[in-house]
Assembly symmetry: C2
Homo-oligomer: 570 residues x 2
């Protein structure tokens, strides 16, 4: 698309916005229609955008969050209606804010005259105040803008999108119903948006980091989850490759670096992991800490945070060397570092021995259990798979996966809103399809029966979009992760029993597809399911219900469960 | 329960709170467990409270809203967890705020020490600021309080509950995980909470209102929806009864006064209703306007608002006579009025003639259509039924119902969040069961297929609670109300097709109950369904899917649809 093809003197606001979306690599838009956004939705198809209508707005926000985490520019779009729609979505927006996904949330609002006159229309609090919801959104979005004046609208849109681009966080755009087709100057469209160039404020840092690298004797690389919003995944892989240094990820960072590289160990678990990993960490004299994100759930309750004295931490706008902080380094710092690096001076170091014990599968008549399930399912993973594990036992289990190259893992990091992962599966799969133009892009979701109930209706959208998804439902009769934390036998951790094998049929799968439901209680059964041609090479949504014990947990959760049982005995 | 039985010197915070709930007539509590509220949930059962675990928090908030609208004291309780849970619920809270339902929202939050240290725990925005969500809640709740200091906690709880009582609006209570079992003084529990007595600020108003009543020649009574939060339903009925004056309701007020009384006409529609109603309204010299609520959707776009010059409007804290406002009149004003009224001086007036055309049913082979469906279904309504019509064509259709005595109607008023009515059905039915101790209290829900997808999972909670509910699903292939407003043929108004007849089975109905699914396309079929013994006298959830045309609308919606079709032809 050339500049000249974009420059009629004016364009309509909706056209402007949607052309910006296309320029930024957004091909699909999530949301729910509502009477204050219908006129806006008319412009989607003419702009070449694919509308994924969701069952409700929270699910739409979750899907948009997933899309942004996969899409090249880290952005996605969500359209809701004023009040009822946007507030339904706000928990999903808060998750995107916390874990950094650039969801552009466009809210269709009542016309400017209704707002000016403080008219008591529906979807307001009936108090004449139209500013409540923007105020609420300001807590969980990086930027907010209200498109009321055509003289400044192009600039406002660009500013908001740029904020989403720079920070990979949601932004909030209010678009009054009567502004949708107002004319604005199109001139700015000739310049596609991008992350503004760095003022190279980190120059001093660069020299210092290089010295630390050349001088190190026991260095390591730690890839944390904010490497993704930093958009440095490719550079991280290059750094890991050219240094050959021992590399770990955090929980949040898992799946962001190719685990089949010989110097990549997996995710670091502190005292809960291998002892020789821990001692290497503790004696390290340099930790290159990429995209740190220090929540309790991403750091084994703060125990895996690298020692500041030996760390170089690269964040969104700072490089921290020991206790010293360099501001304004920009996203390009790692690229500069790679360009400046004298490869001959990089110390060659070996990490702890990498032991690969051959996989011994469970016996066929063995009941499926948390301890052995994840390694068993791991066998079907392929290159380019999108793998999603919902908060709960699945999220804990997924940390053990050995991920194939170019696959991605999405697990719980910090927001941990159960119900997220199913609509996110929709979002990441649509994003991968848009990005690769491969309509068969595959996702594998592992989710518990409790979480499923939060957002189950989005199964129908996955079916309608004809996505290639394998969904494992862990049926363990309720909120097992909560049972581990507290209330092991309490009724409040029970849920209503659903017949999962009827899901495909209920949610509208075509006759042939509706039969792609499987059940397994033993590994023999599960093995047969995984070998079924429909699982191996089929398309569309397939559901595998696996039964596990109500109190079956492992790892850190097992520790909690055992503590509780001990306390009960007192 | 006597004061002495309540007065051990101290009690635990959770015990204090839950005993207050019981004193206020709350018997069931809605919500979802989460790791910051589990310890609180432990206290529910010992307090004699029934826990209704919902599938997600938005549905729980909707259910709690419904409960409050039926419960005697106008209150209900909702428990969620910090961040993820409370934000999921916030759209439901905003609806309760707008349409006035006293939902007491208790949020289990991280312990005080975690908060004090700004610890970056999960379910926060990972920025160390624990005050975001309370700030967001302040926009849509009447009162907010954070229970951190045992010296003031009893007072804080009482103040918040009193606010909910007085204003019938949601309140927000933060309860840190470590405070749940802290000891507080129990002394206040000896005095049950109630709405504080009025300072009788309205004394001048009383005399003036009496004079207007005695002097009127063409008076009428208009019952609007805020008569419910005003808690004057019984007094309204008495006023309508002893005056014998022509009485109408608003849309929001429908169902709040006994429609089988001879002087009750139905809901007033301005120029869209009978001409003689309109001319009576327009020539009235006194309109007793009870609980006014002036949103566009409750006033036929502001056309049915009574003329100020002839109106006496009774609101939550004011009486307005013409343009003159009396403040601080208190909830007791109508009671005072009834006590002071000299019945011999009440003018006897007849309203417009009441024409009752005998019901002529449609032909058996006639396809089910909006215009004739509601009157047809109306035939099965009984005394004490709870009838719910979801926003959309159902909400519009439900306005025509002739309601049996002691039944209640719940339809869209102002917030109009689609997805509300199904969980609200759960809430109102549980409330009625709690209130009447009748486990067979019956609800009838009419809902469109688009709205259903928003919150469908709550079907499983209705099943689990073994509630007596008949649910009509209007299958018209998408958002027909949106099609009427805009985008008649647009794909964004389509939805994924579900197989509704599988819902009971999927959502866990027991073998026998799972078969209580019916389908009708013609009135002959529908007639047979309604005569089925399982519908007439059965229990549990029964689902009737009725098919209607995608563009079938009536009334104000038909007008919109026709305008659109005309515009398309231009």
């Amino acid at each position: 698309m050339t500049a000249s093809s974009l420059s009629p003197q004016t364009t309509k606001v909706a056209e402007y916005l949607f052309l910006r979306f296309r320029q930024l690599g957004i091909e699909s838009v999530f949301g729910v229609p509502g009477d204050y956004n219908l006129r806006l939705l008319d412009f989607l198809e003419p702009a070449g955008l694919h509308w994924v209508g969701n069952c409700n707005e929270l699910n739409a926000a979750y899907a948009a969050d997933g899309y942004a985490r996969v899409n090249g520019n880290g952005l996605s779009a969500l359209i809701t209606t004023y009040g009822v729609g946007e507030l339904s979505a706000i928990n999903g927006i808060a998750g995107a804010f916390t874990e950094k996904a650039g969801v552009v949330h466009v809210v269709g609002t009542p016309s400017r005259s209704l707002q000016r006159d403080r008219t008591l229309v529906h979807h307001t609090l009936a108090d004449g105040d139209y500013r409540h919801f923007a105020a609420m959104a300001s807590h969980v979005t990086k930027a907010q803008t209200n498109l009321t004046d055509p003289r400044t609208i192009p600039e406002q849109i660009d500013w908001a999108l740029e904020q989403a681009l720079i920070y990979s966080q949601p932004v909030y755009i209010e678009l009054p119903d009567d502004v949708v087709d107002v004319a604005v100057l199109a001139a700015r469209l000739a310049n596609p948006l991008s992350i503004p160039a760095s003022p190279r404020g980190g120059d001093g840092a660069l020299t210092e980091v290089l010295e630390h690298i050349y001088d190190s004797q026991r260095p390591l690389i730690l890839v944390d989850g904010e490497s993704r919003p930093l958009r440095i995944i490719d550079q991280v892989e290059e750094l890991v490759n050219i240094t050959g240094w021992p590399t770990w990820t955090s929980i949040f960072g898992k799946g962001l670096v190719n685990e089949s590289m010989p110097n990549v160990y997996g995710h670091y678990r502190g005292s809960l992991g291998p002892k020789d990993w821990e001692s290497y960490f503790e004696s390290a004299d340099l930790i290159i800490n990429l995209g740190p994100h220090y929540s309790d759930t991403n750091t084994y309750t703060f125990t895996t945070i690298p020692r500041e004295a030996v760390s170089i931490s690269l964040s969104l706008d700072t490089v921290k060397i020991g206790a010293k902080v360099y501001h304004d380094v920009g996203n390009g710092f790692l690229t500069q570092l790679l360009q400046s690096l004298d490869k001959t001076r990089i110390p060659k170091v070996g990490g702890p021995p990498k032991t690969t014990t051959p996989y011994v599968g469970p016996k066929a008549d063995e009941a499926i259990a948390q301890a052995s399930f994840y390694a068993f399912v791991n066998q079907i993973f392929r290159e380019n798979d999108l793998i999603l594990t919902e908060t709960g036992t699945a999220g804990h289990g997924g940390r053990q996966f050995k991920l194939p190259p170019r696959s991605r893992l999405f697990g719980p990091a910090t927001w941990l809103s159960i119900g997220y992962m199913l609509p996110a599966t929709l979002g990441v799969t649509v994003a991968k399809r848009d990005l690769t133009k491969n309509s068969n892009a595959r996702a594998i979701l592992i989710i518990g029966d409790g979480s499923l109930q939060m957002s189950a209706q989005e199964i129908s959208t996955i079916i309608r979009e004809k996505l290639n998804v394998i969904m494992f439902i862990i049926n363990n009769s309720g909120y097992t992760i909560e049972r581990a934390i507290h209330g092991r036998k309490q009724a409040y951790n029970d849920i209503a029993p659903w017949r999962h094998t009827k899901a495909l049929e209920f949610f509208g799968a075509e006759e042939g597809q509706a039969k792609n439901s499987f059940v397994a209680r033993t590994y023999g059964e599960l093995g047969r399911v995984l070998n079924d041609e429909r699982i191996r090479n089929g398309g569309g949504l397939r559901i595998v219900e696996v039964f596990m014990d109500q109190e079956d947990v492992q790892g850190a959760l097992l520790h909690l469960m055992e503590k509780q049982i001990a306390a009960e005995k007192q």
